[in-house]
Amino acid sequence: MTGSRRRARPLWLRSLGYWAFQYKRTWRSSVTSSFLEPLLFLTAMGIGLGSLVDRHVHHVAGVSYLAFVGPGLLASAAMQVGTSEATYPVMGAIKWIRTYFAMLATPLRVIDVLTGHLAWIVVRLSMVSGIFLGVLAAFGLVRSWEAVLALPAGVLTGLAFSAPIVAFAATQEKDAAFSIIYRFGVVPLFLFSGIFFPITLLPGWLQPVAWATPLYHGVALCRSLVLGGAPLGASVVHAAYLLALIAAGYALATVTYRRRLSV
């Protein structure tokens, strides 16, 4: 050992380093979908459906339908990436590839394995939200600098799914439950969280349900930031709700990860 030893990298950062390295080697398979999906959705929903909607109701919530839908789709893209990164990769790292166990034979601890993986998901969510924001800008939907805050808002939205879902994924023996998360979680949220129409149009009893879902808060937050003039009070409530879910998910995951990995 040399005297002038450089500062040791934090342990969780080494776990993040693995995911980044492995993404660098395999990103090509996901790159088309991460650019193409927002484009396709915006074109179909915003321009196609939008021109129809705009012709009949003029404007939704005071803006064109494209401008209404665009930021909501950013939030839903974050939800989808946040969910998919928290399901199969976690199961793989426990059962199929056993990456977590490889890490745990080195200086890394269970908490580092968990924190590093979530940190990587933050990086992924930043990429996705950033790309989406760029596409929105290209469609001329970004009007103020406030819109850059939609990037962290997208990250919060995605992570509000990832943190509780990694906690759950670490308890699973098989991947069967993941398709249930999609069918009964992701898909209904996508449809009923205020992306395509304001939730005030939902039947009265469904509105509180929509209120309780993280995607509703993510959509509302992203929309007001992208369109400009986000009300401070409401934005804080949305962000706080998402942060609370993240904190609860993380706390739960420290328990389920330890139970699963430290046996």
């Binding site: 693995y18 590839i97 056993r98 430290s262």
Partner: protein, 320 residues
């Protein structure tokens, strides 16, 4: 800095690298390791033998600070796994029983990624990786993905990976399972060289001949306890005879008749297909068998091995 005769010994570090006292591993109600005591000394190769389910992997995983101790005490490199896990593991190399290679990455990248967990700079990692690939005879596959490699190649890569951090103690859980004889001899060679360099080794294996080759001392484990411990030679001396006579007969009646040789042997074992007579004077028994006209289809005298000891202590039948 005063010149230290053993650079790896930190001041105040006790001589044995691993000390276990009444070590217990419990899974729910089940006792996988039932209060064992052992010490692993610096520079030796220490073996854990035992039938399936004996508790070898459970013990190894505790030594590797990957599995919390359920009872008793364990010190590794003078530290407590419960509190100093990262510091201990930074000096360990583990070859787990189940591979945990990244199948999507290349052979070379697997080594580099692993080295980075130890915070080894990228350039150094790369250099070491190339050396280790040479040792594992995988240089030609360096840029291939791991997935299509054969089982034995994956095993060799796992072993190379465990060495990338230049550990003081390497823990090898069935390192040669699935290796061909060439690869196995290569590994024995390499482990021997590492031992010369002062690297302490803990090994489990189901190959008795491998244990005899590699281990300075070993324990035979059964149902979570140690049935015996010592050097391979000591164990053979203590639990077997110098030689074993193996007699095969054409019919079962012939074999039964030959049981009358029993008084000449220290121990006799009648298996369905042959008779084993344990004795220090095997030739005398074989001569006597022929003299009495028992006419075995085949008869041979061989030296006792660790396998004889193992089977004697843990039984021939599969008990689960």
């Amino acid at each position: 800095m005063p010149s230290a005769p053993h650079p790896a010994v930190a001041p105040g570090e006790p001589a044995p690298l691993v000390v276990a006292r009444g070590l217990v591993k419990r899974f729910g109600e089940f006792l996988a390791v039932d209060g064992v005591d052992f010490e692993i000394r610096r520079g030796e190769c220490f073996g854990f033998l035992g039938p399936n389910g004996a508790g070898k992997t459970s013990t190894m995983r505790m030594i590797a600070c990957m599995s919390p101790v359920s009872g008793g005490t364990l010190r590794v490199l003078g530290m407590d796994p419960a509190t100093d896990g990262p510091a201990i593991r930074s000096r360990l190399g583990l070859v787990p029983q189940e591979d945990s290679l990244d199948l999507e990455l290349t052979v070379l990248d697997n080594l580099i990624v692993y080295a980075r967990y130890f915070d080894i700079p990228r350039a150094v990692a790369r250099e070491r990786a190339m050396e280790l690939l040479d040792f594992a005879q995988l240089t030609e596959r360096a840029r291939d993905r791991v997935e299509p490699l054969s089982g034995g190649m994956k095993r060799r890569l796992t072993i190379a990976r465990a060495l990338v951090s230049r550990p003081d103690l390497i823990i090898l859980d069935e390192p040669t399972t699935g290796l061909d004889p060439q690869a196995r001899h290569l590994l024995w060679d390499r482990l021997y060289r590492l031992k010369q360099e002062g690297v302490t080794q803990v090994v489990t294996t189901h190959y008795m001949e491998e244990a005899e080759q590699l281990c300075d001392r070993l324990v035979i484990m059964d149902h979570g306890r140690f049935a015996a411990e010592g050097s391979p030679r000591e164990l053979i001396g203590r639990y077997s005879t110098r030689e074993v006579v193996e007699l095969r007969f054409a019919t079962h009646d012939d074999q039964t008749e030959a049981l009358s040789l029993a008084p000449m042997a220290q121990r006799i074992e009648a298996l369905p297909d042959r008779l084993l007579l344990y004795s220090d004077e095997g030739d005398a028994i074989l001569t006597e068998a022929h003299r009495r006209g028992y006419a075995p289809v085949s008869g041979l005298v061989r030296r006792s091995t660790l396998e004889d000891v193992f089977l004697r202590l843990t039984g021939r039948t599969l008990v689960d």
